[in-house]
Symmetry: C2
Subunit: 465 residues, 2 copies
């Protein structure tokens, strides 16, 4: 059996090459699908043979999990949810019966932060970790990184897998890596001075953090565009880098390319959804690294290109703790590669708006579906916006209210009243609900050093009771 | 030339073996010295040939830097100070002319945190980083770690090299690694639950953090000794793990072995000073990994065993940014291995009290030399001590005053007045100065999530003017 592919190859393409592996990245999608279904067959059989969880989970299915040969058969396998993982790990702590290797052969343990309830635990073997590095290096190549580049990582090295995955990829690519972290007191001020001094070519972090870093730089008398001189910034963890106006703000502030990336911690940081250096917005879906379906949020049926649904992921080469048909809970739309028409020439499907929300984040207010990223986008498009906002949703009697607290820029040309009316009108026309707007001064709302937390839905308590 | 040694060997000894490399670790010191001087010769020649800094730095010396063949010759090379590095890096940013490889061949960039002035920058090549991992694995073997062990790292992954070095070593040893980090809001509470759940065999962090973690665990209803069940905790970054009473407190709180380690960020995290699982207190000096001299603080002359002085370090196999005769500024005493009589059988010199202070930290009060670690040790030895303290030194007229703020335990058996008098008397008899003591409740002083900052010397301002 030649599965899984051996990782750890040290061969890198010529720096001028657009591709890490041209054949793989540009072949006709139909040909790729043949390879994918073969890999799926191997992965499902491996998981079934080595994990008691999957043996039990697939005990009632109408197909033979040891011999999946078509997407139709594959789609008959049950969807794996976040709750399934939590339940399984609660009953069989700490890893659940997902683990297909011996516990002592786990190289790295990570997990979700789990602010409520038991966090999820991920055990990753050394061979998987090597593959993670190698695949991620390939994806970062499409982002435009090259071995000569110097890369700073400005997200916290904690349970959050994004930072560790970025590090594994950048290391494998052979860049000079500057694992700076984030979140300690005074660290952003230090980051500003280090970046001005060390002049990294690229930065990885969250979009919120980039804005915070840029503001901090300006306060300290730097011009991030001039003094930092980044070639590219790549992001994950939040929708921001595909929210058009936020993206433009980052591009303008730093005068550099912006690339959006993302996946789920469960699938680990291959960032198999990733923008490339040519893509205006959104991400390509590297579905031969992690196979991705877009499913109807209600029926769980497979969706055609153009539809909106939930990305559902399947590892294709994971020996330690494989996830098969993992329901991400995110919301996105997708397109065929020839509709995207990206100059890069890759033949993967594309998420043209990135991942703009989680099913959990969608606010249903007076019957309208609203994602916080829509409001973010509208506000960033206003000249006098002061770069931070909060959403509060309350129920007054039978009616929901949408309340916005919005910062107005220090150097605003409109007065607060005028800005207040403008926000109300723009948001109303975008989301169909008239918000109550409170205008506050720039800098009054907390900035985040990690992921932004902008929504407070006070109705949830009522629902929980 | 067979220098530097190739790193990255995957061969590990039998888990029952006391040694990673018995011949290297147990041979007669004289034989080791022959190898060390050979390595020194190669390292100095390499640095001289490849670094403009060293060519200039050694332009006036009376020996031939390309042909050092004896310790007498080596000791004629000038001492390299922290200020030398800062000055050089200021004049030739960012790395100074220390770098002996191309900038783009640097794999990792780290630095000092540099709260005041320009921080120091360290560029480390991939081969050096591999050697760091391998040597550190060897040292961690002596600590008692084995490939089956699960290890949690609870210090922040930031500029601080301790965390990254521990990770490199533990990875290379083949343990299951749990890079948890520290310093984010709520992270210690999460660490408590993860540790209780995942049951790591070992923890790396700072001694201050271990005490904070243990207290947090107790507040959340855990007994760290019972519920955590660590086999060993290994520490660096602070003197605590060799301060006898602090060490005993950690051992008792967690019912596990405590091992002290330490070096300088400049020398990078080989932790070439390290306790082993047999050593009661202090650290062995792995001087064939980083050559270590103990020098007189005033004359910079080499000191005999038994003396107190400043460890001065020399890389023996560093190709990227080698440091030669780097003056650490730390204070310690050392012993011949046969005076230590450690069961482990290693034939390295030993620092029986660890590194108990920095020359900078030494307080000269009314003519007495006082290290904060001495006061820490006295306080920890008191039954009713509440686990935290602060030192304030002021000058009133011509007289210095030593002020202590000390927590008394919640369940103290002595009253506050009695405790106050006891502290005054114990400290007076230890350091020879009578302190002004203020007793406060347990928990009143801030706990640190990283390195403790307990001393405020208000006299320094006066000196700076």
């Amino acid at each position: 059996m030649n599965w899984p592919t051996a990782a750890g190859s040290d061969s890198r393409p010529d720096p001028d090459s657009e591709y890490w592996d041209e054949r793989q990245e540009t072949r006709p999608p139909g040909e790729r699908r043949d390879e994918i279904i073969e890999k799926i067959g191997e992965q499902v059989r491996y998981a079934y043979d080595n994990s008691e969880f999957y043996r039990e989970f697939y005990s009632d299915v109408d197909v033979d999990p040891r011999n999946i040969t078509s997407f139709e058969e594959f789609e008959q396998l049950p969807i794996l949810s976040s709750d399934d993982i939590k339940q399984e790990q609660k009953e069989h702590p700490p890893f659940g019966r997902f683990l297909c290797i011996d516990e002592e052969d786990i190289a790295r343990i990570y997990g979700t932060s789990g602010t409520t309830g038991r966090p999820k635990v991920f055990g990753i073997g050394q061979d998987d970790w090597d593959r993670i590095g190698e695949w991620h290096a390939q994806i970062l190549w499409s982002v435009g990184l090259r071995p000569d580049d110097r890369v700073i990582i400005t997200s916290p090295f904690i349970q959050y897998l994004g930072s560790w995955g970025a590090l594994a990829g950048v290391d494998h690519l052979g860049c000079t890596t500057f694992p700076f972290g984030a979140g300690m007191e005074g660290q952003t001020e230090q980051a500003v001075e280090w970046i001005a001094d060390l002049q990294p070519d690229a930065l990885y972090g969250t979009p919120s953090y980039a804005l915070y870093l840029g503001e901090t730089a300006e306060e300290r008398g730097h011009d991030p565009a001039e003094d930092f001189d980044f070639k590219v910034m790549f992001f994950s963890g939040e929708p921001g880098a595909s929210v058009p106006s936020t993206r433009r703000q980052i591009e303008t502030m730093f005068d550099c390319e912006v690339v959006d990336q993302g996946s789920m911690a469960e699938m680990t940081p291959w960032m198999s959804n990733s923008g490339c250096r040519h893509l205006e917005n959104g991400m390509h879906v590297w579905n031969d690294i992690v196979y991705t379906e877009l499913l109807d949020p209600d029926t769980e049926e497979s969706l055609e290109y153009g539809a909106e649904g939930v990305p559902t992921y399947t590892h294709l080469e994971r020996t330690s703790q494989p996830m098969i048909r993992y329901w991400s809970g995110d919301i996105t739309t997708w397109e065929r590669h020839d509709e995207t028409d990206c100059e890069c020439g890759r033949t993967y499907p594309t998420l043209p708006k990135g991942i703009y929300g989680r099913a959990d984040d969608m606010l249903v207010i007076r019957g309208k579906n609203i994602f916080p990223s829509q409001i973010e986008d509208q506000l960033h498009a206003l000249d006098d916006y002061g770069d931070e906002f909060r959403i509060v949703v309350e129920r007054e009697g039978a009616l929901d209210s949408l309340q916005l607290v919005v910062e107005v820029a220090d150097d605003a040309e409109t007065g607060p009243d005028e800005f207040h009316d403008l926000v109300r009108q723009e948001i109303k026309s975008e989301v169909g609900v008239t918000p109550d707007v409170t205008v506050v001064k720039q800098g009054e709302l907390d900035r985040t050093q990690f992921k932004a937390d902008r929504v407070k839905d006070k109705r949830e308590l009522a629902i929980d009771v």
